[in-house]
Symmetry: D2
Subunit: 413 residues, 4 copies
């Protein structure tokens, strides 16, 4: 099916040095317009307002997940690991490459407002009338469906799923390394090559040899640090809050029949929550940024002001709340109203732990298999039962409440 005769192609990549493409299908997928669109969607959404280097796209991350998967499988093949089903190579590579193809612009902020789910969109794009679908069908008629099944974690053998969706999968390994590289925050660095060496296919799972336990500890600490240093950074949260409020305001205006000074068809469909695939694929960060720039001239003062805040980086400030005091919050709301500001759009209580990111909590995250260690007696043990460090991270109650509000609003008068 795959055409391994294609001359190997490479992409220069700062994280993996090179990304090697050895199959015509992979090459063709990369060159579809749906995949190229990922160049216009940033991997870390608004994080560039906190870390100016974080301007990398989901395109580069997707290539990185593909490459990490290719390396893992290549180790299995080189060692002739008997528990690795060799006929799963190509489908795993395709799923790895495509797993994020349904992401829209600023997904973390857009998804909750418009009830969009990027995983659903990934499958719709794979199954729909798209260039990606046509490339996949060249392998076989059922191939698109199979790739979608991996994305939706209902594929068998499940080892294929766990390569790109588990507590230590190719997705996470690439994004930790990549986000660390582009933000310049080195905490996310861990020894990928060593982890690749201790991963093994075993009874339809990916497990870790006991000698690799410290490498996994290091990976999980990198993850812990990245969550608190980067993904949950209060300045990033602040920009995401403003973004969500812009979308909520625009949606509310749309519902109330407001006539926008600037509008585009695909944006209209987003606000009305009636997107076709074609509309969805038109959405990217250049469209959102342009719309916000135009909306700075809208009649609606809230929309106008929030867009200006976002584009000119006049973000909300924050205050850490040791506890939620309802009386205090009501006072703040009243103060905002007294200043003519609607608390719905100018205040937010945020608790970082409720992001789609998560630290390692086995048992709580149903769909992400835990990390298993294979000891010398052939037993599989969940890693937090072996490692004191990991047990400590797993049990920790994470996060504190933050109150976000406009800088010019004098909080404690």
């Amino acid at each position: 099916m795959s055409n391994p005769m294609m001359e190997e192609k490479v992409f220069k990549d700062p994280v993996h040095k090179y990304i090697y493409v050895q199959d015509r299908v992979i090459w063709d997928l990369i060159n579809t317009k749906e995949f190229q669109r990922l160049r216009r969607i940033r991997q870390l959404g608004t994080s560039f307002y906190t870390f100016h280097g974080a301007e990398h796209s989901r395109f580069s991350h997707s290539l990185g997940v593909y490459e990490t998967t290719r390396k893992i499988i290549s180790q299995f093949e080189r060692r002739h690991d008997s528990d690795w089903p060799v006929d799963q190579r190509l489908i795993c590579l395709c799923a790895a490459l495509l797993h994020d193809v349904g992401h829209g612009p600023f997904s973390h902020s857009i998804e909750p407002v418009f009830d969009v789910n990027h995983e659903d969109w990934t499958c719709r794009i794979i199954m729909g009338d798209t260039e990606i679908n046509r490339v996949l069908r060249q392998v076989s008629d059922s191939f698109p469906e199979q790739v979608a099944a991996i994305i939706e974690k209902r594929y068998q053998p499940e080892i294929a799923v766990s390569l790109i969706s588990s507590q230590m999968d190719a997705d996470r390994m690439d994004y930790l390394l990549r986000d660390a590289y582009f933000t310049g925050v080195h905490y996310g660095t861990f020894d990928l090559e060593r982890i690749l060496r201790v991963m093994r296919p075993y009874q339809n799972k990916i497990i870790i040899k006991e000698s690799g336990m410290h490498a996994v500890e290091d990976y999980l600490m990198a993850r812990y640090q990245m969550y608190w240093q980067v993904y949950f950074h209060p300045v990033t949260r602040s920009s995401e809050i403003i973004l969500r409020k812009i979308f909520r305001r625009a949606k509310q205006l749309h519902q109330s029949g407001y006539t926008f000074g600037f509008m585009l068809p695909s944006l209209q469909q987003l606000l009305g929550q009636s997107l076709t695939i074609e509309d969805y694929l038109e959405l990217d960060e250049s469209l959102i940024q342009l719309a916000f720039k135009q909306w700075m001239k809208e009649d609606d003062p809230i929309l106008r002001d929030l867009c200006m805040r976002f584009l000119h980086r006049r973000l909300f400030k924050y205050k850490i709340l040791e506890q939620i005091d309802q009386a205090e919050i009501e006072e703040v709301e009243q103060n905002l109203r007294d200043s003519g500001l609607d608390p719905d759009y100018y205040m937010e209580i945020d608790f970082p732990a409720d992001l789609p990111y998560d630290v390692y909590r086995p048992g709580q995250i149903g769909d992400k298999p835990p990390i298993l260690i294979l000891n010398e007696r052939g037993q599989l043990i969940e890693i937090s039962r072996k490692s004191d460090i990991i047990r400590s991270i797993s049990g920790v109650q994470l996060g504190t409440h933050h109150l976000y509000y406009p800088e010019e609003f004098l909080y404690n008068q």
Copy 2:
């Protein structure tokens, strides 16, 4: 003037680790809307189509030039170098930070088509009715004019100019390191710390101690490699050519009275070459990308097709021409016409050496002072007279002609 009492602020930066802001003026300039706009303009234009990591913005480069300048001056001050005019510190830092603030989207492609010059725009923004101008005027009424004088290289003392505009200035040093980091091409790496150690203010110039000659050789080799590996990469050239052709087509359509299905006021002013500062500041890469996406639905088949090629990365292929054979070229043009393609928009002969980038050629580039070595006898010597390596690069005739054309067009039939 400067307010050094401000608590030091830092930006995390992958290239310099940290960027230190110690003056209120610098902090305020960074927070102006004109400077924040640089986040929406990529440092390397279309290079992200060749090197997917090259998604970094002029915002991050501008901070980097500022930081490099700050480090150079800080060395001069620490050593109490007598030839350094200490009262020039703040103005140099401001000019370093702002030197690229007039860049528009995809400058290399837009500027020749619309006769725009980013240096002029930098000065207009500094001198105009802008937030930047207001911040600068807080230092003194004449301060904006002085900063503009550095940008235009007519400032005295000229040592202040040479910090950000010479054959080895803070601008070049930052972009080589930064572009190398984000593309992942390590060739651009050189030992910045060592070069900082051997730079000296001397008789109103920045010179290099003789012991630093090999470090400068290394810097110039990094530069040479970056030009040929990155800046002149044929795939990047190809995307720039398409971009230029899109702009030329849109301008031509505009002049002929064509009605665009999608238009925005600032874009209109660009096509008509009658931009105000306000219009100009609205132009950024999100606007251009959005416009191109909309123009994929235009009536004009050339504009429509070129925009599709750009956004979906269906770039022109190229062929190296050992020499320009007029008859051969005419044949190609005729073939194109036979296929219904206008050679003006579907063919280009490119000779990379005529870019605004240049390798080190003393004497030929009037406005960039050469690199001078101060030997132990107190003599100043132009570096290519001391170093065989540099002499060799200086004299080399660079570049070959490339012919660009659509892939589907069968060239040699």
Copy 3:
């Protein structure tokens, strides 16, 4: 006292890039024969048998501790921190540079056998008739005594002591980074520049700003990993055990009046535990290695064999003991005796936690002040009370018992 007029000198250093020497006293100390001798003593003793890159000397580490201290103080001075006693700069730099000058060859193995203490020897060398003493006395007559007081942690103000002797001092920070670099184990890497930024002198202590807590966590995790990946590596322990047994055998032979085929005066004094300063300074790793090579021809079969094992890297193997079972051990001893091997020299039960290295356990290590966080309300808090991660490491019972024995000896027969 110090002569800051000396032209700055630099050493190229892989860890800190450059080491800057700005004082004549420091330069002169580096050039004494006692300091140059540190080139012949490896920083990590026998670890090069486990990590072949770990061939770096105490000379390079000592320069690194000096440079780290210089950077810390330089930050204090640049910010004009009021709690930093500016007149302590030179003495701190000297103590940092000299703190390891009393180390002998393979200290960890030699010290317990011959009751030698490198800290005592550091002070004897500083106070004795040495080049180092003469250089220090050029500052003032009491200067050597003051430097020795820092080494012995009885100096006032105690902030000077804590720079080179606390849970996060210049010594540890350099060795973690350096040992990580030379072994190639990246786990020991942390963000030194960030830690320097959050360190503050405060009420005669070095404390950490609250915003730096995650950076300290990262440092402590680096430390934890280095202990278990490098310092406690069972292969390194094995080589240290053999080394100790060689020294014990030689000492025992010396006491019993054995005539060595090869002997040197200083070595004789070591065995007899009657070393003068001059003898001590003759001891280095070239002498020990040469002696072992000669002792491979001794009459005593145990000494001969152990030396061969050490030099040719025929180390003892190990077995992890889940618990100490006295009966099992006695059986092993009996088996060894049956094979003609003396258990005193061919077996060892090792428990890595009893090394001079330690992980962070506040309260248990009397002479190392804990890490204190200064919160925004001006309170000092011991870090493990703020950080779940650190609390977890602090409380962990570390280490397991290992049984070491010769490979050819079949253990479980």
Copy 4:
């Protein structure tokens, strides 16, 4: 022959991250006492006096040459390159690992004085009554002879020779990267992974694809810089000169019948130039350093003084000679004699180009095949005919004369 069933073993290596051992023969060779001895011989001789990080051993370099060779072959195998003779894999790996096994302590200084040649000794050790010979003979009786034939460059097919001995072989590639890493001089860094990708076996040669020309330029510039920044550093030359003079003095004393206060049998054989293999293998840097330390107490004032200078790093100073002026030199010699110093031992005119290292000069170095580029028309072209940069380096007359003399001797009186 080879036993690929052995479980893969790895060494942690700072340069290549990991070194992979997949053959029992390689593993057994590493564990021979002759190979372990390379741990006691520094890769860069006396360079640690200039770059304190340069304490790495020939043991680590030898592993690195092995690993580089393994990677090259592994690429050939993975691509099924038809011009690669697959049965040559194991012999190439063995030769790569062993190519430096005949190095003695401080070879560059010892070899010219005692007419020793490390390549001859490598072959004697491979062919002699050694552990290495016994391991190799397990492959086949003729195997040691074949390995020796590669070392002596008389093996067929010659492609096997060129892997470890050509202008861009595994030996050079490892030492440039390794020496750059341990000195901290980044100039020696180049993109090994890219070079591996463009190397091809072709008609019994290793050639480079045309697309890799810039990568080769970068490699050769790295080499050029390392020669002038590291290998020819005047301070290193100075320490080598003193070392040579010590050996010459000791040899001369030995010939004149002088009775040394300290002597060892193998050292005696060295001075008398009558070394057996067993003697030779006893020589290492610990022996030389110990002997010098003892010789600081000799009766002969010249030997005593030179040894003290070497161990305490009291090196000769130098003066650059623009030209050799015989009268000037005679005057210096006379001045030395007037101060009671023998010019034979206290002065040297050095011209760095006459080291065993060389920059790229095709045609002049008979035994190192030049670098060939395979262009798209299938022609082989020597690289300096394609690259202006390389042509420039090739033709450059390198080096200047330096005059070395004791610091305390006032030269220009």
